[in-house]
Symmetry: C2
Subunit: 234 residues, 2 copies
């Protein structure tokens, strides 16, 4: 691990500048506005120069998607770490942080959580299954759920029902998180699905025909979700 040479440092900053230009275009024009020629123009370069740093536009967008995945994962971790000891409070803080980030960054959300573009596809295919960006993202949710389950088990559908549906199909999840109680796996999949649905519907503008200020629907669902994570009074 030797110190980076001057050339390597320059290269790193250039890569960063390319990516930040790409993100700027993404933010104010959608993914189809990201073009090598526009990035190069903004940098005072010509388009073919970018091929010294990325093999194609697709690869550049893929790398950007990877960065965004990391950014949102770090965001979740920060929300969790700032929410005290109670796991339910941690999960609620993470959900709120995720929604806030997504609503504030619709283009970025669309790139990593929307329909898989060729760029995203080729990028994610280069990731080993165990450290798929989605796996590290999901892990931040799984950990508090596991701890909550051991401290104060929440109600779930009957475990034999869960086992019947999940039988042998949780291998990918197990590969990145080790053995997990089937109830926790269910809570994660069910909860993440609901969170994703709420946020994606709002970001993709699929509910504005029915409700204004979808944040209140979000908070309502969060309330009922928190209730479901609390043991029912006997």
């Amino acid at each position: 691990m030797t110190a980076p040479s001057r050339r390597e440092r320059l290269r790193t900053t250039t890569v960063a500048e390319i990516k930040s230009g790409a993100r700027r275009l993404l933010v104010d024009g959608g993914v189809e506005a990201v073009s090598l020629r526009a990035i190069a123009r903004d940098m005072g370069m010509t388009a073919p120069a970018i091929y010294r740093y990325f093999p194609s536009l697709e690869a550049l967008v893929g790398a950007l998607a990877g960065d965004l995945y990391e950014e949102s994962t770090a965001l979740l971790e920060a929300a969790r770490d700032g929410a005290g000891e109670d796991e339910v409070a941690q999960l609620l803080a993470m959900a709120r942080a995720f929604r806030a980030w997504s609503v504030a960054h619709p283009a970025e959300f669309g790139l990593i959580f929307g329909a898989p573009t060729p760029s995203a596809t080729t990028f994610f295919d280069t990731c080993a299954d165990a450290d798929h960006p989605g796996a590290r993202f999901g892990a931040v949710f799984v950990q508090p759920l596991v701890e909550l389950w051991h401290r104060s088990p929440f109600p779930t559908p009957p475990p034999e029902l869960l086992r019947r549906h999940f039988e042998g199909r949780l291998e990918p999840l197990r590969q990145s998180h080790g053995e997990i109680p089937v109830e926790v796996a269910w809570a994660f999949l069910s909860g993440w699905t609901r969170l994703y649905g709420l946020v994606a519907m709002e970001v993709f503008d699929q509910v504005s025909w029915a409700i204004t200020e979808p944040e209140h629907l979000f908070e309502l669902e969060l309330t009922t979700f928190a209730t479901q994570l609390t043991p029912h009074r006997p």
Copy 2:
């Protein structure tokens, strides 16, 4: 209402041929593969000819999105009409039909239920709020829910909690469906959000790192959803 002239008939079939070419390109190349030149090539025409029928590529893709919305709405109605009298059975049949269609038509799903492209945006903006395609789509779900609610009310969060969160924010929904009990509005929004989340996650390939055969997760969630629509035993 006079019979369409020969010219009008030719025009109609040409429009249909353009759209079907566009859909073919959409299906096996994603939305970014839809190009006027490719469509025209497949039809043995030149690209500018298409401007006799659509003012821009954006408008063509928008019209295609409108057709797809109609297609999926009709699909839901067919599923409902083939599911007998019981409203819960109707809702389950609709959910299954929606998932099946979406999984079988990922590109079409992405176009109308994914991140809004400029094309979709400009198209949906041309729709009046009351007959927004989403509203007609949602109506198919709302109707059985209303009937079920009147026949056999399902458990919901406390109505005062619902009212507090929905206060004055359901105007768009009311405009297309008239007065609706707040409990039904909640059931629709909550249920549609969960259904959308499940299907979008599967179609957009956001869960393959955790679970294989997501259809079983879908069926599991459907089971618990049906339970929640049934009055709890006293």
